[in-house]
């Protein structure tokens, strides 16, 4: 990087750090506008029912009520949203498909008035048979959720299986190569098993909320979404508005992790603002947020065949996802589970079938790693089981099968950039493989997931007349640190100090288009479009300087914060002011599309490499994680401390899913839709030792050889913990979470002898 100041590659403090520690940082939930009114959602109390009548008379008389909206008020709008299939009604229309589904919105002058009146809305139902279990929903006599399917819109621009199908099939996906039948026939060892991954709630701490304002310039919605441009598309379709008349503004987002991908409560707030002509704010409580989106739970039937030397010959997976009442992002979650379940191993013959299934439960969508943790759990535990059955060390068995750098994971896709054998070596050392000491066991898991989503991104950089710069991007800051990392990239490219660079993000009325903020893509994809914008600004500045100083453009070179004209340094400010005479600015643009470095997908393979050391209290079944190690195989860490933070956060979130978290249905409703009964990791769950290792081989297509982080750290934790418990107890868990009760039962059923009590000695 020549004589430029080195800004990338350093743990520069977060640009939003001070705002966040002082409470100055504003989130959508903190916003208000004069005259705004408040919405309270009336929710279904049946899992599956026809809505016979909604009696709003008494609620309408309640003090402060402005208006009540039901499915019957949606005649003049497109009443469905969805980025893959338009099947999600803004409010239930004639039929409700899950307990907790929005049925009406009460709009009132205060939140208290709205909530109070909402309790007075009477809904009359005609109950229909319901189904909450995915396998039950696949049976011939199961109630059908969607006899008529929504219009397919596929706004993804990406492989996402085939939506539709018959019965309750939401989507299908498959992946095949080689001949699995002859593979299994020739195998020395074939193992089979069924694995279950739980239904999770991401619990982004800022609940879903949106503030919609309808005015002369169209609609403005302030919301806590990751994907403002996806939300814009839904809102434009719903209200028949051009994109130019829909402005989606995203301030700081209080946690995303995939749970704030795509539209959630924005369509309802927008329609309410349109119908009332008033600014409407809708804030959901945590129980309502749980009833908005959860992750796809999975049942994975897996079969793997090996030679006596431990080489894979064939693998077959059958995946069933419980995808809830509407399509949302489940086709893509399912596709990703298909693409990752067999792991980054050379597999001569493969057959994967995925069915995503509608059930009368909360709609499922993305959650950190979407699909990868579900499939990896099955695939990695079979690698362990095979190792034990063949008498080969599990690390050694993996090494014999791992895809090497430059080899294909999936035929026709981008070759693997990473060096997994080296990563595995580091990981196994960190968890004292194979023997971490008396009463403990190590476990580890690997995954490579197809990340980066669709490479479509734009960026602008404005070099102001005083030489400072604003970079405009569509990437959402949701804690991952995009504003800081992108500011570092812009500062590096323009060779300006960080203090002179500002990032303006996630405002569809001002900033440029971004496909999504998800799939760990921002540093890689947005980073590159911003780099291109900076280079464009640089090119323009050289041309302006040449014109001002009447020299050939070839005699102007880039320099820190300015240019060299025949060897003399001229600041950006001097060039801009010289050319314009007064004021002025230079605007550079950058764009990334599926071309050049980004022609091949995935954009990058995100590595999940996790290892743990665990101990178990044999009396209670309680699992203690003594050490949790991950590898951030990120190519180049633009801000190492923030990569560390992403990996640590993903790892602990994965640990929650492995040990505690699970949404449980009993009958037609959830038994634990709150933060007491749905237990997320707390301070005292922190493993005694955390080891987030960083591997930088500059092998990514992102700026300076970077590639994404943020999901990998969590993708293989469930597999690693279950693997360690299996080694420690001699019983193979096949289901998460490994709660104390579940481990205790495993110990009883597995007839593990209890250790002698201390007091007998």
């Amino acid at each position: 990087m020549d004589n430029k100041p080195q800004i990338v590659g350093r743990s520069i403090p977060r640009v939003d750090g001070v705002a966040k520690v002082t409470g100055a940082a504003k989130f959508a939930i903190d916003l208000s506008v004069p005259g705004m009114v408040f919405g309270a959602v009336v929710r279904s109390e049946r899992a599956h029912a026809e809505i016979i009548d909604i009696d709003t008379r008494s609620a309408e008389q309640s003090p402060g009520v402005v208006r009540i909206i039901t499915g019957r008020d949606l005649d003049n709008v497109v009443p469905y949203f969805g980025h893959i299939v338009l099947d999600h009604p803004i409010l239930a229309i004639e039929r409700t498909l899950y307990y907790g589904e929005p049925i009406a919105l009460v709009i009132a002058r205060s939140q208290q008035a709205a909530t109070h009146a909402a309790s007075q809305v009477e809904v009359e139902y005609r109950e229909l048979p319901y189904v909450t279990d995915a396998l039950e929903a696949l049976k011939d006599d199961a109630p059908i959720l969607h006899p008529q399917r929504g219009e397919v819109v596929r706004d993804l621009g990406f492989d996402a299986g085939e939506e539709g199908g018959s019965g309750n099939i939401c989507s299908l996906a498959s992946l095949d190569w080689g001949n699995v039948d002859s593979g299994f026939a020739a195998a020395d060892l074939v193992i089979e098993g069924e694995f279950r991954y739980p239904m999770l709630y991401g619990y982004a701490m800022e609940p879903y909320n949106a503030l919609a304002v309808s005015g002369e310039d169209g609609l403005t919605v302030y919301t806590t979404t990751q994907h403002p441009y996806m939300v814009r598309k839904d809102l434009a379709r719903i209200l028949s508005l051009p994109f130019a008349k829909v402005r989606v503004v995203v301030p700081y987002v209080g946690g995303g992790y995939g749970t704030k991908s795509y539209s959630k409560i924005e369509p309802l707030a927008a329609v309410a603002a349109q119908l009332t002509g008033l600014p409407v704010k809708v804030v959901l409580g945590v129980e309502e947020s749980i009833h908005t989106t959860r992750s796809d739970s999975a049942i994975v039937r897996a079969r793997s065949g090996y030679t006596a030397q431990g080489l894979l010959v064939a693998r077959a997976f059958e995946i069933v996802l419980n995808s809830g009442a509407y399509t949302d992002n489940s086709p893509q979650v399912g596709q990703k589970a298909v693409n990752t379940c067999f792991g980054p191993y050379r597999t001569p013959a493969l057959s994967v079938r995925m069915r995503s299934v509608f059930t009368n439960t909360v709609p499922a969508s993305s959650l950190r790693g979407f699909g990868t943790p579900q499939g990896t759990f099955a695939g990695e535990l079979q690698m362990d089981e095979a190792a034990e059955r063949l008498g080969i060390d599990p690390v050694e068995l993996r090494k014999r099968n791992l895809v090497g750098p430059g080899e294909e994971v999936i035929p026709g896709k981008r070759a693997l950039e990473a060096n997994l054998p080296e990563d595995l070596e580091l990981l196994s050392k960190s968890v004292d493989w194979p023997d971490p000491g008396e009463g403990r066991a190590s476990g580890l898991g690997l995954s490579a997931s197809d990340s980066g989503a669709y490479p479509s991104s734009t960026a602008l950089v404005r070099i102001h007349a005083d030489g400072s710069a604003s970079a405009l991007v569509g990437a959402t800051e949701m804690g991952q640190g995009s504003r800081t990392v992108l500011a570092q990239i812009a500062a590096q490219e323009l060779a300006l100090p960080m203090e002179l660079v500002t990032i303006v993000s996630s405002d569809t009325g001002i900033g440029p288009f971004e496909q999504t903020t998800g799939a760990s893509r921002t540093t890689t994809v947005v980073g590159r479009s911003l780099q291109a914008a900076c280079q464009d600004a640089r090119r323009q500045l050289r041309a302006l300087a040449a014109e001002v100083h009447e020299v050939a453009v070839e005699s102007v070179q880039d320099a820190p914060g300015g240019v060299l004209v025949d060897g003399t340094w001229r600041s950006f400010a001097e060039v801009i002011q010289g050319w314009f005479g007064a004021g002025g600015e230079v605007i550079g643009t950058g764009a990334i599309r599926r071309s050049g470095d980004f022609a091949e997908t995935p954009v990058f393979w995100e590595i999940g490499a996790a290892g743990v050391i665990v101990s178990v209290d044999r009396d209670t079944g309680e699992v203690s994680v003594e050490k949790l190690a991950t590898i951030g195989d990120v190519g180049f860490a633009i801000n190492p401390a923030m990569v560390h933070g992403q990996d640590a956060g993903a790892a602990l979130m994965g640990l929650g899913a492995a040990l505690h978290e699970e949404l449980v249905y009993e009958g037609e409703m959830l038994t634990n839709p709150n933060l007491v009964d749905y237990r997320v990791p707390r301070f005292e769950d922190l493993p005694r030792e955390m080891d987030q290792m960083l591997v930088e081989r500059q092998d990514g297509v992102g700026p300076y050889g970077s590639k994404g982080a943020g999901e990998g750290g969590g993708n293989a934790i469930g597999a690693a913990i279950a693997s360690a418990i299996a080694r420690l107890l001699g019983v193979r868990p096949r289901e998460l979470p490994l709660t104390s009760e579940r481990v205790w039962r495993l110990l009883q059923d597995g007839r593990i002898p209890r250790e002698a009590d201390d007091d007998l000695s």
Partner: protein, 159 residues
């Protein structure tokens, strides 16, 4: 519902106000623009609405505004003084002890109360004291490090 007059100290300033009996302290503060305390779990589990009453952490989501009669309330907006960060806030920035930042005001206040009652906490003391504050982003380790670092600096007179 009935209103009553209360007086208390809010971020070092005496206040007198008429307030309805049923108003939650969290709504009372946020309606006055003090949005640092955040609503999240609504049941005293997550700590994102933490404020200090007479120096100790409370959940504003389950405290009535009238309960602060005669007491001293500190919100995150009152922690930095004259634009200068409190050592705990500095440590959170230095140690990257926040990501999305939604839990951060509550974390900072709970940690501040810890160091005021125990200036030299062990790692286990921190884990135990902070148990009522949830963070979904960081994985907690960086927050523990920030608190240890703030305590160490105060101990050596650097704070």
């Amino acid at each position: 519902m009935s209103a009553r007059k209360i007086s208390f100290v809010l971020n070092r300033r005496p206040q007198e106000t008429e307030i309805d009996d049923s108003v939650l302290l969290l709504d009372f503060l946020r309606d006055r623009g003090l949005t640092g305390a955040k609503p999240s779990c609504e049941m005293e589990v997550c700590g994102s609405c933490t404020i200090l009453i007479d120096g100790l952490p409370f959940s504003a989501c389950t405290t009535l505004a009238v309960e602060v009669e005669g007491r001293t309330v500190e919100t995150i907006e009152g922690v930095a003084r004259n634009g200068e960060l409190h050592p705990i806030q500095e440590a959170f920035v230095e140690r990257f002890a926040m990501q999305c930042g939604f839990c951060t005001p509550g974390m900072v206040l709970t940690a501040k109360a810890l160091l005021e009652s125990n200036p030299d906490p062990s790692r286990d003391d921190i884990l135990h004291w902070m148990e009522g504050n949830i963070c979904r982003c960081t994985g907690y380790e960086s927050i523990v490090e920030a608190i240890l670092s703030a305590a160490a600096k105060a101990g050596t007179g650097d704070g």
